[in-house]
């Protein structure tokens, strides 16, 4: 392989420019640091590359990784041979998952940061508290809501902890199926509210949110409605003059120096040449699967099992959530259409079932929300007839008469659930792919059952005349949420990262995605991740790079 001359060393190199890499790029370049961002995927432009093409975006994976080029493998048990399976294939391009996401951005709850303190040790699970609390994160949640653009109604969620500011944008009007959800919840005494949404309906920060096409979840948004780091934080970082973006470049190793620090990264550029980029600080933001993979691939004499892995915990305690739901059908002959396919994926939701109620037979809980049933090819309809008159009849009868209520399963961490390097399967460059070993915990199954049954109850109250509950069997990675593979903590033997997501073993290596989450939370993780990435980026510029140190006291 040809090697190119080394580019100039910089202050910070960021690997992976999605939600979190975009956040770090903005915060650190605005702080005056010289930053290079390296992204393995392309830099697609929302106004040039995105439109409402269901076949292209949902079926043929235009934006998603090609599973032949970059496969993943999955197994349920330790001794099984893992099979290729496109598990949690979050889009890999500039902006990452913020290109395709529905954009649910609820705030986490105080209990999410102290699950072990609240529940002790649960059989088979590896619960751990976070090394900080909700109050540490609150100012940064507010920063993300205002800088990135989030719509919502402050005060509408009666269970939300303290917030310092309302939202910068109003939500869209309710959809017809959203209205059904509100009405049913009000009948049942449930507090429904618009799920906070990573999109704007006003000209916040000069945006033009004209997209009302309903081509939303899994599609790129050609307008300025969706909050995507590729159209917000990354252009803001570039505007500082301190940030350089290198797309279509694949980082294959974080390089260790002789002084116990990382020296930078080695990547393959879009000409196929090898390039070494030196930096004072290396930030990994590839997502918890690919960050763990890169750490495990970065072997050195000091770290034969992967960089910063003296604890042996890199890749372990992986959590992925799972999207479970129930579908409800209405009667075309009698009821009004609910147009389940229309909307920007979410409308009303609730957090009323989030906190532990042990009478339900499990700990924890999940966010619940009504959501779109999607477009004609891929209508979310388990049991949709495969062919024949039954297929045609059911499509004609139910396409505009279906709604869905889903939840984000708060799965418990287990040490054996992990990401490691597959011994057999390689990607197109010959590098070992990420192998997922995952088996659901009994608590996950029980939670899924109770919450899906609750969704059925809401659908029936809403007047649905047929329901299809979808229960948890095993994780399919359908949320693209990834956490836990380099958990944060105070004890270097029980965690990989400290409270600033700084590796215990390598002081200039930071992992600022969901890898650090000790537990998964029961809300969509991106708001929490981005707020944490901002918080840790502030630590990097205000403390670490100034030679200062600040340690948080261990919360009681």
């Amino acid at each position: 392989m040809t090697k190119k001359q080394k580019p100039d060393a910089v202050d910070v190199v960021i690997v992976g420019l999605g939600a979190n890499g975009g956040t770090a790029a903005k915060v650190l370049s605005e702080a005056g640091l010289k930053v290079v961002g390296i992204e393995r995927g392309p830099w697609l432009k929302n106004d040039k590359h995105y439109s409402g093409d269901e076949l292209k975006f949902v079926n043929r994976n235009y934006m998603w990784p090609d599973s032949r080029l970059t496969p993943r493998t999955v197994r349920r048990n330790e001794n099984d041979v893992a099979e290729p399976y496109p598990f949690s294939m979050t889009p890999q391009l500039v902006g990452g998952g913020t290109n395709h996401w529905a954009g649910w951005v609820p705030r986490p709850r105080e209990s999410d940061f102290m699950l072990r303190s609240l529940h002790g040790d649960i059989d088979g699970a590896s619960l751990a508290d976070w090394p900080f609390r909700y109050d540490h994160l609150e100012p940064y949640l507010t920063k993300i809501e205002w800088e990135f653009g989030v719509s919502g109604i402050a005060g509408a969620d009666r269970t939300e902890p303290f917030r310092s500011k309302p939202y910068p944008s109003m939500p869209l009007p309710p959809t017809r199926w959203g209205k059904k959800f509100y009405d049913a919840c009000n009948t049942m005494g449930i507090n429904a509210f618009p799920i906070p949404h990573a999109s704007v309906t006003n000209n916040h920060k000069g945006r033009n949110p004209f997209n009302r096409t309903s081509f939303w979840n899994q599609y790129g948004d050609p307008s300025g409605a969706r909050s995507n780091t590729a159209t917000t934080f990354i252009p803001e970082a570039l505007a500082t003059g301190n940030f350089e973006l290198r797309a279509d470049c694949f980082v294959r190793e974080v390089k260790m120096g002789r002084n116990g620090k990382a020296t930078g990264v080695i990547y393959i550029d879009d000409d196929g040449a090898e390039v070494e980029q030196d930096a004072k600080i290396v930030i990994l933001t590839l997502g918890a699967i690919e960050s763990a993979r890169l750490m495990l691939m970065s072997k050195s004499p000091e770290f034969p099992d992967g960089i910063a892995n003296s604890s042996g915990l890199v890749g372990k305690n992986a959590t992925f959530h799972e999207y479970l739901f129930a579908i409800g059908f209405f009667d075309k002959e009698i009821d009004d259409p609910v147009y389940g396919w229309a909307g920007n994926y979410i409308s009303g939701g609730t957090m009323d079932f989030y906190e532990t109620d042990e009478s339900r037979g499990y700990i924890g809980g999940s966010i619940t929300a009504a959501s779109q049933t999607c477009h004609p090819i891929n209508m979310v309809f388990p049991g949709r007839p495969l062919w024949g008159q039954a297929l045609k009849d059911s499509d004609r009868t139910f396409f505009s008469y279906a709604m869905k209520i889903g939840l984000i399963l708060h799965d418990l961490p287990q040490e054996a659930n992990r990401v490691d390097l597959d011994p057999n399967v390689k990607d197109y460059m010959g590098l070992p792919v990420a192998r997922i070993t995952h088996k659901a915990h009994a608590n996950d199954v029980a939670m899924g059952k109770w919450q899906v049954d609750k969704n059925v109850e809401i659908l029936e109250t809403a007047g649905a005349r047929k329901t299809i509950p979808v229960y948890l069997d095993q994780m399919t990675g359908n949320t693209c949420h990834q956490h836990g593979t380099a958990r944060m903590g105070f004890d270097p033997s029980k965690s990989v990262l400290n409270e600033w997501c700084q590796a215990h073993d390598v002081e200039n290596l930071f992992v600022l995605d969901g890898s650090g989450f000790p537990t998964a939370t029961g809300v969509n993780p991106t708001l929490t991740m981005m707020a944490n990435a901002w918080r840790c980026s502030d630590y990097i510029s205000d403390y670490y790079l100034k030679g200062r140190e600040m340690r948080l006291p261990e919360p009681k």
Partner: protein, 245 residues
């Protein structure tokens, strides 16, 4: 190698009225068209045959020129590099799957009815398809029931699929995809199910196409969310805060 961001637009939208195969032999064309006509049959509404699903499938299997429409639907993206390589391999496998699939359908027809598939009446064709699919003919979906399911993979890729599920998926795709790909002629499939889809992909890029009328227009947040009236920290927002109603 150019980036995915720089792929050029080539060709034009597929003509749904074309009867000239780019991939299938005449016999394969006719057989797959007949199979598609039983997967989404014609009744008082048009079916897969009238929607020109056969053109959609033929163009898809012809190589890698018809995989991704350009964003505005004026043509197709010319892939290159590793993506082109990967798609060539995927399409090449599907070509073999279809070639063998048509042979298998005909030999099943011969075995049961002593004639090729195209010579059978529709009930006999259905019987062959039941045999090929390995499952009974799908029954209609009725109201008034609860039918549990478990989590499944939600991305409907055709990668590595055998003939029968690939064919069913492709027929559904051809029927309902944007007409640029050659099926869903005159958006007839969307009209049948009541989907007010865009007139062109370009209309989804600039605000021309909107589904705002499918939202609720007359509502009050305070009625939908009674708790808002009890809290005092933040004002109840009003509609005028939204520019895109």
């Amino acid at each position: 190698m150019s980036s995915k961001a720089d792929w050029k637009t080539i060709l034009e939208p597929v003509d749904p009225n074309s009867n000239e195969p780019l991939f299938f032999s005449p016999h394969e064309w006719d057989t797959v068209e007949a199979l598609a006509a039983r997967i989404i049959p014609t009744d008082h509404d048009p079916g897969a045959k009238e929607a020109r699903v056969i053109v959609f499938i033929d163009r898809y299997l012809s190589g890698i020129n018809y995989v991704f429409a350009s964003a505005d639907g004026s043509g197709f993206l010319e892939m290159d590099g590793k993506h082109a390589h990967s798609w060539r391999a995927r399409i090449s496998e599907l070509q073999q799957v279809y070639r063998q699939g048509v042979i298998d359908v005909d030999s099943e027809s011969q075995a049961i009815f002593g004639a090729p598939f195209l010579d059978l009446d529709v009930d006999s064709q259905d019987a062959v398809m039941v045999k090929i699919s390995g499952s009974p003919k799908p029954a209609s979906v009725n109201l008034g029931t609860t039918e549990p399911s478990t989590t499944f993979f939600q991305f409907s890729s055709d990668d590595g699929l055998p003939f029968w599920p690939a064919l069913c998926l492709h027929v559904k795709q051809g029927f309902y995809a944007d007409p640029v790909y050659g099926g869903n002629k005159d958006r007839m499939a969307w009209n049948i199910i009541g989907f007010d889809g865009p007139k062109s992909l370009k209309d989804t890029m600039d605000g021309t196409y909107t589904t705002a009328d499918k939202f609720v227009s007359d509502y009050d947040w305070g009625d939908l969310i009674p708790v808002l009236k009890e809290q005092e920290d933040f004002p109840i927002p009003v509609m005028s805060d939204i520019i895109y109603k």
